[in-house]
């Protein structure tokens, strides 16, 4: 329990959260396992593993490799499918007092639309995160988030499905020439906020077997290694659209790291890979960030958001 008078609340579109610390999609499963380490309701929200329309086996193993200050993963969105998710995982989260942001992923615009229609009608969802860093099977496997048109189409379809019933957060990939233009595109298409960054495309070659280490060859790079890229992306996008709430993530390991992303412009912080290192990371980081904000004299968390953009006094 904190005794400070800090207003630690944050807002993503119409959704209000008691504090800005979230899990990152795919790094907290659907909450159950993590709840052994802290009460899930103590953080801002649980962002669930991106779920698809149908059950998914995911990719073959090896699915991961450790890299310097990071890791590579190629899980391939293994999951129960939206119907099982809404029947079993979501009610469990609600029952256990967790605010929940549901992350969806699709292989076509229609799949995203169908998913969001289902989520709209489910009770207990705080916001919808739209993971557009997936390959578009209808467009030569090009990742939605890497193409302005595809990105727009997905968000428009989701917006048509959920209307104003739920805040829509579009999750962006850093693997683009100009992330600001993609951000502008999805906001104009109806997104209420942005989540960034997803992993960077990477590869590790096993020098014993002399082949790519992952069964999928390439994988997503996460962890502290990519934090400077996350800070830069958040800074650029906040600069271009200071009113758009950003869920920041990428290599946050400590409250100081979270503070860095907040100063760059993030209104909430997702903790991903750090949770593998330390399952108590979300709750620890929440406390460390709170102490930092107090020590810097902030009385409202929201005053710190994007503070690094203010001109030097």
């Amino acid at each position: 329990m904190s005794t400070s008078s800090l207003d630690f609340t944050t807002q993503l579109g119409t959704a209000l959260f008691p504090n800005p610390i979230l899990t990152a999609s795919g790094c907290a499963a659907n909450g159950k396992e993590l709840s052994a380490f802290f009460p899930l309701g103590d953080i801002g929200a649980v962002v669930t593993k991106s779920v698809m329309n149908h059950p998914r086996s995911g990719r073959a193993t090896p699915r991961m490799a450790e890299t310097p200050s990071g890791m590579l993963n190629a899980i391939g969105l293994q999951g129960p499918g939206i119907d099982n998710f809404l029947r079993e995982d979501l009610p469990w989260l609600v029952e256990h007092g967790a605010r929940t942001i549901v992350s969806i992923a699709g292989e076509s615009v229609e799949e995203f639309a169908a998913l969001s229609r289902k989520v709209r009608n489910a009770p207990g969802v705080s916001a919808l995160e739209v993971n557009i860093s997936c390959p578009n099977v209808e467009n030569r496997g090009l990742v939605f988030a890497c193409d302005r048109t595809s990105a727009r189409e997905v968000i428009e379809a989701v917006k048509r499905s959920v209307g104003n019933s739920l805040p829509i957060i579009a999750k962006l990939s850093p693997d683009v020439t100009d992330i600001v233009s993609i951000a502008e595109e999805v906001i104009s298409a109806g997104a209420d906020g942005l989540a960034m960054i997803n992993t960077l495309l990477g590869m590790v070659i096993n020098t014993e077997t002399m082949r790519p280490h992952l069964a999928n060859k390439t994988g997503g790079l996460s962890g502290p290694a990519i934090r400077p890229v996350a800070v830069r992306a958040i800074f650029q996008v906040h600069q271009a659209m200071p009113k758009v709430p950003i869920v920041g993530m990428g290599g946050v390991l400590t409250g100081n790291d979270a503070f860095e992303l907040v100063l760059a412009g993030a209104s909430a912080i997702s903790i991903g890979t750090a949770t593998f290192h330390d399952p108590s990371a979300p709750i620890r980081i929440k406390q460390e960030l709170e102490e930092l904000l107090n020590s810097r004299g902030f009385t409202r968390f929201s005053d710190a958001v994007g503070y690094a953009h203010r001109s030097q006094s």
Binding site: G26, C27, S35, P55, A60, P62, M64, E66, H96, P279
Partner: protein
Amino acid sequence: MNEKTSGPVQAECEIISNRKVGAYHHLTLAAPGIAEVARPGNFVAISVGDSRTSMLLRRSFAIYQATSRGPFGGTIEIIVAPHGDGSTWIAQRVAHERLNVIGPLGNAFKIPKDPVRALLVGGGYGSAPLFPLAELLRQKNSRVEMAVGASSAERVFAPVEGKRSVHSLVIATEDGTLGSKGRVTDLFDNALTNIDIVYACGPMGMLKALSVIGTAAGVTVQCAVEESMACGIGLCMTCVLPVRDKEGVIKMLRSCVEGPIFDGAAVQWDGIGTIPPGTYGAPK
């Protein structure tokens, strides 16, 4: 309801001792909260490196012994084979340093209610968790035979105390430096006749071979697998392998939560590293 659910514990555990045993390091850790609830087959996940290390992921180790009480409160023991940078870092720690440990993790070996004739097969450091299992089986009046294999003598883990837990112990090394020369499975190619259940821990190749032998003899083989794990606690889905469930459906199960102990007959050994055709949710 907003409460911590029960489950594994995360703790800074003091190293009580670190002794070299052949090619391995035998670490004893003060682990109250973990030791009391650990069961044979469970493992722990330990973070490696200092606060500025570039190694983010925990390393997993089977629990060798877990002692609920003693001068240090509950203690656990692990057997570490220095291999890459992470395990080597752990092996180099000295008494009084602390390790960040999460445990107990995973499922445990299943113990039949009635006395059985059990064969325990360990490869390399894989024999470690079989000794407390042997103790437990003997308490249930089971007959316990153990076979231990390794590449060479220094990699055979079979401490003197351990021998007291079993009725018989045979050893095989690939280079013949201890026991028979050859693989541990050579020791009982056609010897499962007087066995009701097999418990196995060791390299995947050994587990697969045992599952084949067990299936042929109609004997259950409980296998402790070792899949690469990013989190060890069920969050990341990196540690999966294809396992057939009761309904006959192959699913990609997490070896850190649904395992590490699986029924050898259910594991799709040849499908590891693939998504076997027909797997639940497989790409069409």
